[in-house]
């Protein structure tokens, strides 16, 4: 592909994402101003006079018209300042920066597990089509898909954490391990510090949350991949390859899989948004100090600047992931590449 064209395309894409984020920020801003209770209620001392209350309000800008508040917020936001949390009294950006890596790690591992296992099972059940194995796989998949992530999370805690005491389920790592923060991603930081024991412990803590996040995805990827394989096998080029004497294994891996992957990739794109939504509750269940936990605290305390900041972060991530998915279409589908 032409490098200049590629850069132009990437530039356009980033501009689009920026535009979408702008719209998103307006939506969030407006929705949050519908709020019936006073977000500052907890900050204003009970014995404060009306004037004192007003001055605190003014300090946060809540006394101005909504569009002015928005423009003010936007002005700061463009300089990388999302304001201070009302409760935490810390810059929102710093709070998010601390929490984000764990959420990204969790979502990435969850998605990866889902895709890898789902694809394997999809191919396996496809090869076993028409047999009992396929029907069993199908039944298990439809069960797995019926149970939402957070219930999987709880179920795992009940079974593997409490009943069997196999796996830890509180926090990202045993608090006895102290690892210097470098990238923020524990999975990398433990390795950078050369602490293999901490690394192993961290992984152990992540098994259940990741599995809970992955369950639905495994089932979905498996089903979609299998059914698109079935569809691709109806295509004439599969038959033509067979008539040239190509072996069934080669047909599956060389001819069918790549074409069948396209709907699966689309699914992963759609699922990316859901995955990040899923981390929110999983973090709450497993006491992981990520973005989701931060969000829940922010919601419980009506911390508007923080909620705003976290929402924007979630949306930015989802839009980025979607762009990556679009990019992978180019690899999968030569037709797009040539346009």
């Amino acid at each position: 592909m032409d490098a200049g064209k590629f850069l132009a395309g990437a530039g356009l894409r980033i501009a689009t994402i920026a535009g979408q984020l702008l719209v998103v920020s307006i939506v969030i801003f407006v929705v949050l101003r519908l709020i019936p209770t006073d977000p500052l209620a907890m900050m204003i001392p009970a014995n404060a006079t009306r004037d004192e209350a007003e001055s605190i309000r003014a300090a946060f800008g809540f006394n101005r018209p909504i569009y002015e508040q928005y423009l003010m917020w936007l002005g700061h936001a463009l300089q990388g300042d999302l304001g201070n949390g009302i409760q935490a009294r810390e810059p929102v950006t710093r709070l998010i920066k601390t929490a984000l890596p764990l959420t990204l790690e969790l979502a990435f591992l969850g998605l990866l597990t889902g895709v890898v296992l789902g694809a394997l099972l999809g191919i396996l059940t496809f090869r076993a089509r028409g047999t009992r194995l396929e029907r069993v796989g199908e039944a298990v998949a439809s069960l797995a898909q019926s149970i939402p992530e957070f219930l999987w999370g709880i179920a795992f805690v009940l079974i593997f954490g409490l009943a069997l005491s196999l796996l830890p389920f509180i926090g990202p790592m045993n608090s006895a391990y102290i690892v210097p923060r470098q990238t923020g991603f524990l999975i990398i930081d433990t390795l950078l510090a050369g602490r293999l024991d901490a690394f192993a412990d961290h992984l152990k803590h992540m098994i259940m949350p990741v599995a809970a996040l992955a369950m639905m995805k495994i089932a979905m990827v498996m089903r979609v991949l299998r059914s698109s394989l079935v569809e691709v096998y109806l295509d004439e080029y599969v038959n033509a390859a067979r008539l040239r004497g190509v072996s069934e294994t080669a047909i599956l891996f060389r001819h069918a899989l790549r074409n069948a992957a396209i709907p699966t990739v689309t699914l992963i794109g759609v699922q990316a948004a859901q995955t990040f939504g899923g981390t929110l509750l999983i973090e709450a269940i497993y006491s992981l100090p990520g973005l989701g936990n931060l969000m829940i605290v922010a919601i419980r305390t009506n911390d508007l600047p923080l909620i705003q900041g976290i929402c924007l972060t979630y949306c930015a991530i989802v839009l980025l992931v979607n762009s990556l998915v679009d990019l992978s279409y180019f690899w999968l589908n030569p037709r797009l590449r040539r346009q």
Binding site: V24, V31, A273, L281, M295, I299, C311
Partner: protein, 283 residues
């Protein structure tokens, strides 16, 4: 071929009907008032365990409230949410999809872009934000869920409409003098109806899950109304002492979602089979 999918429809539909019956008859079925606190019998185990007794068949929670009664009353919120939300999302999502798909061009582009932006919010995040903006209560839960989930309907239905628009019977209707509204109602809607009904079923399960998620985070209905989600959240607090407080509402949610998915699957198979039969008919 009529048996294809029939079993799933019957089982799934049966379970859903049972839940609705329980919800309607809750005052007569429940052994206790769901909010009565029996402080002498906090965290009582289910009746069949060694220390259980039949006054609380499924035990009590950490405030001594009867788990079975709360479960039964919880079905009310589930039934209401599971009925109104699918209808709402369906009406909003499908009508926008039909308009976008039929008129195409800039109408379609604008609406699709709105859907894109909407979908860049993880559903959970958006519904939480909406619940912060709205006041807690059943109406808000329904509104928030509809506002979050219509996009799913819209996207899938629009895809199907675009497929139908390629078929010439839409143009054919146009040149026989049919009005736009008539084409949408007579030619497009029946074409996507199987899809919409299938989605509608699946949405029943989604609505119940979303409500339980919102309750779990603590931004759902008013505190005095028992819901399965609230029970799960409360149960998690006492999970070490009384796992049953957690297990039963979880099973209730899972059962509902499974029933809804099952019915949806069954209907999809049923409709597909009919389409296949049709295309197979004499060549």
């Amino acid at each position: 071929m009529s048996s294809r999918g029939q079993a799933r429809i019957l089982i799934g539909g049966g379970i859903l009907a049972f839940i609705v019956c329980v919800a309607v008859l809750a005052p007569w079925l429940a052994p206790h008032n769901p909010n009565d606190q029996d402080l002498l019998q906090m965290l009582a185990p289910p009746a069949w365990s060694p220390d259980g007794d039949w006054s609380h068949p499924l035990g009590t929670d950490n405030l001594g409230r009867d788990v079975l009664s709360r479960l039964i009353y919880g079905a009310r919120v589930a039934a209401i949410v599971g009925t109104i939300v699918p209808i709402g999302t369906c009406l909003l999502g499908s009508s926008i999809a039909i308009v976008a798909g039929y008129y195409g061009g800039y109408v379609d582009k604008t609406l699709s872009r709105i859907v894109d932006i909407w979908m860049s919010f993880p559903a959970v995040v958006l519904s939480l934000v909406l619940m912060v903006g709205l006041s807690p209560g059943l109406r808000s839960v329904i509104l928030a869920t509809v506002l979050v989930d219509w996009t799913r309907f819209c996207r899938i239905t629009r895809g199907a409409i675009l497929g139908l628009m390629k078929l010439e019977y839409i143009s054919a209707a146009r040149i026989t003098g049919a009005s736009h509204v008539s084409i949408m109602l007579r030619d497009l809607v029946p074409g996507v109806l199987p899809l919409i009904i299938t989605l509608l079923c699946v949405e029943i399960g989604v609505a119940v899950v979303v409500e339980s998620i919102l309750s779990f985070v603590g931004v759902s209905v008013e505190p005095h109304i028992p819901t399965w989600g609230v029970m799960i959240a409360d149960g998690l607090a006492s999970v070490f002492q009384a796992p049953w407080c957690l297990v039963f509402p979880m099973l209730a949610v899972i059962l509902t979602v499974m029933a809804a998915n099952m019915m949806g699957d069954g209907l999809r198979i049923r409709f597909d089979a009919r389409i296949v039969d049709r295309t197979r008919a004499p060549a």
